[in-house]
Symmetry: C2
Subunit: 760 residues, 2 copies
């Protein structure tokens, strides 16, 4: 492999070299609100099937494993980690939260600890074997696995440059094997820099004499951690040898299964060692990372970046020519893990060399500026052991009591942060609320998610072999392309509804302002609505509830023609407007929208009442929340004035004051769920209307005289059918029961999947 | 019915009164190019099933019946009439055309005339009965039926105003019955004004002694025309009486079936007289109209308007109190029909009164200005009999020979006009070409068509109970709403295609111009394409076939970011671009687009060659034709200059010169069908790609190194998938076989329908 460094240093290659993808798996125990290990089963809101991607169970029933997808960008990786944490914690009942340390919390007796209640009998049997051989407690250690894959384009280019006689698959496997060997040789540095388990709670030890007499760096990486017995043999020389030795361990009874082989590097590419030989290595999994106690999601973005460049450096650097480098590295790793956390490491010089080498590589490959800063920080840790996570941790929590309290406090704070805004999915708050919710449901429901276009809210969900692409959380493969053009067109909508026997307001269509003006005398003083044919959200619409004068009608026509080439003059229908959300031939939700308002308490001014109402966590700004903050601007002042009020007025107890005449949620209006209250006849009409429009999902606006009276052909009319209708106002209404449209969409798209997660 | 006139005259009612709808049925014989009655069967390209709406057969196999939908607007009615004529004539093989007179062309012997070969045995039996009773020849007379329906809102309003004790249905039936009686009383005026069959060819008469000794006004309305024997009784007093007498005629053997009752008014609303009693009258059918010889589609728009206001006047005017008014009217009708075409009618004074009354009514209801002019014209006809169609006709064609020649000449000219632009559907040329074609196919294929939104190209096709809404001739219920967002998004498209194992050019995505500029050094001198993520039609795209300099790349990036927030820098793939049109999982058409060009003949200048090429009827301007006129502007001059040529250069025989570098059809490029020539492997790949995108209809652009060589993973790449792809260039290519995508769409949408019409 002559010339790898100069190959990477060549024009353009440095960037390609850095195009690696990383995926994380974070383990962590659920604890009860009293800080004790949760003895409850896996949260029933989470799909616990083996097919679940993002949230799985590890060894114990209480031990969650949170898995990110592999992504290139560190900040995106952190976003996923946050999102998955949020869904996991919010899915736990009884205010459970996540234990923030690698070493477990105070443990109950072994009998009380349940191994994970998985689907497959063999998975349970394996866990019971581990209990027998290692005891339950060792298996209760949690950590973070770091999955790393180089850009295949880079390896391809290097393969081309090598004129190798190997196949590409062999070349690539050998390339990764070399990385694996170098990693095992120098893994101690990661243990030193990120070790964060200096001690464990006394209840962790099988016997107290096992305890170290000094704070160490990492229990996980010490002899008490995941380590095989000495008789287990291994080799990373080549894939065949790796497979031969691994299978021999199993065949000859030194291991019960291949996965019992505890190495801090796992070769990924096949379910079994021999499958790996056939298929070659796809990527590597590094498994030695302790959970960082203060990091809300167990790891810091900087640590991810350090690891990325440390791994790249292991590719970049020469290989230790020592035949036994791997075995040596494993020994050093354990030794460093067991060093006193406050002492300088015995391998200090090698550490400095590595960090210096990394810096040189960064220059050669044009690495990002931020990583230089991270290197400085790590150099500091090398020079000052008291700055290592292990030392800092131990300083704060030197005994059982402080350890347990610190864990409980961090867990409680993390959980509180996570539960603050249940309608947001942390990490993805730049996306539309409805897509955030759908993604949360998908994570909970065990689907895999690809974000195909983040700006455009296009995601793909996968369950087994079934994929569905979804935009805006309701544009799917179940609606037809033509149906959206039908709903977009008010004339066509009305024509189809009328043909199907439903009530729509009569209207006249105009294509020229002059034509409309010529007819204007017919419309004077008649209750009517002037509206552009194709616009939405009330744009360009004028309502003459009690009829209008000629000049006003003229102005309304001009406004409407300003927005569209075609304008409807439509009969005004008296009654209250309700939004019916129909999906799959069923009215899923009915909503009433009421203009921004406050209700008096006999003491507070309107300004105070508004402030108080705005405290609701559901209210925010700019559509980043289900409801909007009620403003106190000139329009609100004018609306109050029309009622003989101002912001300083004190309303009597129960008295209602409106701050807006319009009922839009976007100007602080309230959404009131009416799904159960609405007379069923209208719900039937709405779902039949959607059918007449060929729509799977539609938001139908019906004017209804009295929602408690059955529909006749006189007491309602449909004024609009909306494609891509708003969802959040139904899911998180200001009043009444939320309707989980997002969950129902998943059920609709994946009818074959058992949706055993409960709604809510 | 006191006060009908003052009710109609009230504010707003005059307009509502005029909101009538009219539908026409035009009968006409197919003739061969030699002017003789066509003895061929009903054109096989036309769906001859009983379910066919627009084109049916009447009595004889040669006798087409062209049926418009009911529409309000006269000009739209004329558009339908034109469109249906065009489809009918173009569907005839052997250059057949339509005989333009009510009286038939020179007829062969009775034996040679075939009665219509309809599906139902009873329909054939009925026609054979008619032959027995009336002879074949009478049945060969053609005419136009005028179906008339008032606005139901008007009748409703009049019903409300009447405080009637009848049900609305009875009220409405009686309202129409009154109109029917008045029409039958005054029908003679229509015969006078529009009679256009002063004589027939000798071969029409069973015996020559039947011939009149003078030119009459209308054979159809004479005693030789559609008239029942004297023993047939009838009454229009009320619906029950009407039904009783009609069924008695049948029961007692005076008629073989209800439809044998030849009245110039048919009451419409039920298949049988008693069904009509149950259901009530929906509208009336007036059946006395002669075909106007010079009118390309058998009737003039003015005649339609006159009829509309004549009928409205029959509602407006008082009823003749004479108990026998109907019988009287029928007698006057026959008498007027048989008057000498050049003589003043005996009912002149009554005619003048009617026209004067119509004028008064027009004033009262605010009728359109244009109708006053028509009234003046009709008054002229009344005053000057030589201006009647019958007189004018006879003057030109007083004998068998001139009659036959005039018929042949008009038929030939009409057919020539109709066949000139086979890709246009006359009447609807404001719509997109592909929708025009689809509508033509639907007319031919026996579907019913609703134009739901003409500007937006949204139509609905109906076959039996099955309806499909279609926009732009390819947006249907078979494509999913999400698939269009997938295709619109080049990044998502490429991701899905790549995942599915297909070749796409590698690309880098940028969301900020600065980011892209920072990477620019990587792209210098590399063959690549800079393009906005979501635009179409080449907008904002720069191609660097042989690599570009930094400044040029920078300009290209700026241009692309000007069009979109996200820009791709994509590897340039060498080869030729082909468009694959996929529908229903099958590549339906493959096209090569070549820049505007001419090929030399060794004599002509390039300017002459361009002019000659532009003579092609497929070429026109502004997308109103499948190909565009090649311009001779500065861009074309520059392109020629680059080849060392100008417009005056003379090309050697076979030498090719390009007038444009770009291959767009819109700048005069040629479309070359490659469907059969393309190696099947690419066609398979294209259809699989569409499947991977979840698209039913997609236009995939593939760059292919050599279309004759099988696809490998190196010799092609897909650069784009288009929703709503252009269709016309495949259907009417400049070279090669057109692919009837429009017909295949119908088959795809209505798989249950027998598509026995041949393609083409």
């Amino acid at each position: 492999m002559q010339g790898l460094q100069s190959f990477i240093s060549a024009d353009g290659m440095g960037q390609l070299f850095q195009q690696s993808t990383v995926g994380l798996e974070r383990e962590g125990h659920r604890i009860a609100s009293d800080g004790k290990l949760a003895l409850t089963p896996h949260p029933p809101k989470i799909d616990g099937a083996a097919t679940s991607f993002f949230i799985q169970r590890d060894f114990a029933e209480s031990q969650l494993e949170l898995v990110t997808p592999p992504v290139h960008d560190t900040s995106e990786l952190m976003q996923w980690l946050q999102a998955i944490h949020e869904v996991a914690v919010r899915s736990c009942d009884h205010d459970e939260r996540l234990w923030p340390f690698s070493a477990p919390p105070a443990l109950p007796s072994d009998e009380a600890i349940a191994v994970a209640n998985l689907e497959k009998a063999e998975d349970i049997a394996y866990r019971e074997y581990l209990v027998k051989v290692y005891g339950k407690k060792l298996q209760m250690i949690s950590g973070i696995h770091y999955n790393f894959e180089l850009s295949d384009d880079f390896i391809q280019a290097w393969y081309q440059a090598n004129d190798s006689r190997q196949s590409y698959q062999s070349f690539k496997s050998n390339f990764y094997l070399r990385l694996a060997r170098n990693f095992l040789r120098y893994q101690w540095l990661v243990v030193y820099l990120f070790g964060a388990s200096p001690a464990a709670h006394d209840s962790f030890y099988n016997k107290l004499s096992d305890k170290f007499d000094h704070p160490i760096r990492s229990i996980r990486n010490s002899h008490l951690g995941y380590i095989n017995k000495d008789d287990v043999t291994y080799s990373y020389a080549n894939l065949e040898e790796y497979a031969r030795q691994l299978t021999a361990n199993v065949d000859e009874g030194r291991l019960v299964a291949e996965k019992e082989f505890y190495s801090n590097v796992r070769l990924r590419g096949g379910k079994t060692a021999w499958e790996l030989v056939d298929h070659g290595i796809d990527y590597l999994e590094f498994r030695l990372f302790d959970i960082q106690p203060q990091a809300p999601y167990g790891i810091w973005a900087e640590d991810i970046d350090f690891m990325r460049y440390f791994i790249l450096y292991l590719i970049w650097m020469d290989e230790d020519s020592n035949m036994d480098a791997v075995r040596l590295g494993n020994k050093i790793k354990t030794a460093v893990a067991e060093e006193d956390a406050f002492s300088r490491t015995a391998y200090y010089e090698e550490g400095r060399e590595i960090l210096a080498g990394m810096r040189q590589m960064l220059v050669a490959i044009g690495g990002p500026k931020s990583v230089y800063g991270i290197l400085d920080k790590m150099l500091d840790r090398l020079d000052h052991p008291e700055l290592t996570p292990a030392a800092k941790f131990y300083k704060k929590a030197p005994d059982n009591k402080t350890y347990q309290i610190m864990g409980e406090e961090i867990a409680a704070k993390n959980a509180e942060d996570i539960r603050r805004y249940p309608y947001l999915l942390g990490g993805f708050t730049d996306m539309e609320l409805s897509t955030q919710l759908l993604m949360a449901d998908a994570i909970q429901g065990g689907y895999y998610i690809d974000i195909l276009d983040r700006d455009q809210q296009i995601i793909r969900l996968t369950y087994k072999d079934h994929q569905e692409i979804i935009k805006n959380a309701n544009i799917t493969s179940k609606d037809t392309y033509i149906s959206h053009y039908v709903m977009e067109n008010k004339e066509v909508t009305k024509l189809l509804l009328e043909e199907a026997g439903y009530q729509v307001p009569k209207s006249q269509t105009y294509k020229h302002l002059d034509q409309a003006k010529a007819d204007i005398s017919r419309f004077v003083n008649r209750p009517l609505v002037v509206k552009p044919k194709s616009t939405n959200m009330g744009i360009g619409i004028s309502i003459f509830k009690h009829g209008g004068k000629e000049a006003d009608l003229q102005a309304a026509l001009e406004l409407a023609f300003d927005k569209d080439d075609t304008v409807l003059v439509e009969e005004y229908v008296d009654g209250t407007e309700y939004r019916f959300y129909v999906m799959d031939g069923k009215t899923q939700a009915v909503l009433l929208r009421v203009g921004a308002n406050v209700r008096g308490d006999g003491e507070s001014t309107i300004a105070q009442l508004v402030d108080e109402k705005n405290q609701d966590k559901l209210r925010g700004n700019d559509h980043r929340s289900p409801l909007e903050i009620i403003k106190q601007g000139p329009e609100e002042a004018q609306t109050l004035k029309n009622q003989g009020l101002d912001f300083d007025s004190v309303l009597a107890k129960g008295e209602l004051a409106y701050l807006r005449d319009n009922s839009n949620i976007s100007t602080g209006g309230d959404s009131i769920d009416m799904t159960e209250l609405m007379h069923p006849s209208y719900k039937e009409i709405a779902q039949e209307m959607a059918k007449a429009l060929g729509a799977n999902i539609s938001g139908l606006d019906l004017i209804i005289a009295d929602y408690e009276e059955a529909a006749t052909d006189k007491n309602y009319a449909c004024i609009e059918a909306n494609f891509n209708p708003m969802m959040m106002m139904h899911i998180y209404p200001a009043k009444g029961q939320g309707q989980p449209l997002n969950k129902r969409l998943l059920q609709s798209l994946f009818p074959e999947k058992t949706h055993y997660t409960k709604e809510g």
